[in-house]
């Protein structure tokens, strides 16, 4: 019999878990309110390359979710934290809509490269500039390495191909900061005074949410909403701690089984 863990924190994915586009998952607001009654910290974690925290926050508030902007932790926040830890001046290859999350950073005379999804910056000239900086020793920080994404008019290249190209040109490896990287989950917990063993992650992406969290030492709960496809739970090893219908069920499980008091 496994010793009961103390649960101190719940990390929750946004898109696909709390809402799908402009619609909340049924019962999700109420479930979040119930979770907040329990003695656990709550954080909202997401991979984003073009939406700043404020945009995400306003969308969730618009859907009547009870949360604070500082409870949101994104791959952009993770990139910013890494830039601050390294005390470097980044060349920011991110879209204008994401720049807000980097305000206050020194970016003149750059000695680091942060690469997100920024089609406007993925031209020959800017990539050459990034290449020369990396060759001179600048660290390459990637928000994530997605191959492509879906747009209304078809598929479009994500940041991954450009990161891979720069890695090849310079014979270096990028530091990837978004999900499913272990560092992402650890960084999300950093100010909660909580170890990974004391946290659970809820998300709709088996590999990026659940697999990543479990790889970092947390429990992972997969919800069958958003991008979930049948048999996704079988795609990761070890399998999710729990697979359930949707966010409200995940909250019920946490309240009933992961928190000591019934």
């Amino acid at each position: 019999m496994m010793a009961r863990r103390t649960l101190k924190a719940v990390l929750i994915d946004l898109s696909g878990t709390l809402h799908i586009e402009d619609t909340a998952v049924p019962g999700a607001q109420e479930a979040l309110a119930r979770l907040r009654q329990a003695p656990v910290a709550v954080k909202f974690v997401t991979n984003t390359t073009k939406e700043c925290k404020r945009t995400l926050f306003e969308r969730l508030r618009g859907l009547n979710f009870d949360l604070q902007q500082q409870e949101i932790f994104t791959s952009l926040t993770a990139a910013r934290n890494l830039v601050e830890q390294k005390a470097v001046r980044p060349l920011l290859m991110v879209e204008d809509s994401a720049l807000e999350d980097f305000t206050g950073l020194e970016t003149s005379d750059p000695n680091a490269v942060v690469i997100g999804l920024a089609p406007d910056h993925f031209n020959y000239q800017t990539l050459n500039k990034a290449f020369q900086l990396i060759l001179d020793g600048a660290p390459l920080i990637a928000i994530h390495k997605a191959r492509y994404y879906k747009k209304k008019d078809g598929l479009a290249l994500g940041p991954g191909p450009f990161v891979t190209g720069l890695e090849y040109a310079t014979d270096t490896k990028a530091t990837v900061v978004g999900k499913p990287e272990k560092g992402f989950f650890l960084e999300a917990l950093r100010d909660l005074n909580c170890s990974p063993e004391e946290a659970v992650m809820i998300g709709d992406d088996a590999r990026d949410d659940v697999g990543g969290a479990q790889n970092a030492g947390m429990l992972g709960i997969l919800v069958k909403t958003g991008k979930y496809r049948p048999a996704d739970e079988g795609k990761i090893n070890p399998p999710p701690h729990l697979t359930c219908a949707s966010f409200p069920e995940a909250v019920n499980y946490i309240l009933d089984h992961l928190l000591g008091s019934k």
């Binding site: 406007d120 993925f122 031209n123 290249l157 191909p161 450009f162 190209g165 090849y168």
Partner: protein
């Protein structure tokens, strides 16, 4: 120069293949300038009775324009003796009945005259430089991802090259980007592909052990030539770096200061 026992392998040499950029000339303003002594060195080789061919991964110009550029620098070279990736890929396309989507430099387009590019079923990328925009790369990506079995040809696989205003990303970087995006392996046409070197050997009608390749690029010139059975000399010009001489994976059969010294060695020891 006296015969040197370490250069004995040159005894059986009947033909020579020369890389161009970094061996004959350095690229730069106005097309570049000849490397000291290389114009005379090429003449001496031509007069020696040895078979001579040129092999380049140049894809920013048609062969005609490229050879014209070299004539201006003083090199007397005929177009039919120059092997570059574009004509090689055109042959492959015809043999395999493929219709390419082209992401190449505008000045290379004439090499594809007569090639059917309607409803493409493969992608060919070359060093497109400024044309490597997100938009253009995305178009190539969409063609590839829309194919049942994506076929990608890359004209060389270089990481970067040197221009007067600094280092520039080469085609290999964009090849890697598309490989990653579509989960495919590109077919490289040009150096260091063995197929490419074999085409040159066939044209010379010589066996690999009878031919020596002279280049400034350890991996693409020397390594490529060696892996199809030729000897490889590296010159200490162009993109040569002293660290090349202790590279763990490729070892040239000899290192010489420049093309002039390479020709001295070949003519003295054969």
């Amino acid at each position: 120069m006296a015969a040197d026992s370490s250069l004995e392998f040159l005894k059986s040499v009947k033909g020579v293949i020369l890389d161009m950029c970094g061996v004959l000339y350095d690229s730069g303003e106005g097309g570049g300038r000849a490397i000291h002594g290389s114009v005379e060195a090429v003449k001496r080789l031509m007069d020696s009775g040895l078979m001579l061919r040129f092999c380049t991964n140049e894809t920013q110009n048609t062969r005609e324009r490229f050879v014209q550029k070299l004539r201006v620098m003083g090199f007397d070279i005929s177009v039919s003796h120059v092997f570059s990736p574009a004509p090689a890929v055109v042959q492959i396309l015809q043999k395999r009945h493929l219709r390419p989507h082209l992401l190449v430099h505008d000045d290379l387009i004439p090499e594809f005259d007569g090639v059917d590019t309607s409803s493409p079923n493969c992608v060919v990328i070359g060093d497109a430089a400024e044309k490597f925009s997100y938009q253009n790369l995305n178009e190539a990506f969409r063609v590839l991802i829309g194919l049942e079995k994506p076929v990608l040809f890359s004209l060389g696989r270089g990481r970067y090259y040197k221009e007067t205003d600094g280092l520039k990303l080469d085609v290999g970087v964009y090849m890697k980007a598309l490989e990653y995006a579509c989960d495919v392996q590109a077919e490289v046409v040009g150096k260091p592909s063995s197929e490419f070197f074999k085409t040159v050997l066939n044209d010379m009608n010589l066996q690999p052990h009878e031919v020596v390749m002279v280049g400034d690029d350890l991996v693409n010139d020397v390594g490529g030539a060696q892996s199809c059975g030729m000897k490889g000399l590296q010159v200490r010009t162009g993109k040569y770096r002293p660290s090349d001489e202790c590279d763990p994976s490729v070892r040239a059969d000899a290192y010489v200061d420049d093309l002039s010294a390479a020709v001295d060695a070949i003519l003295t020891n054969r």
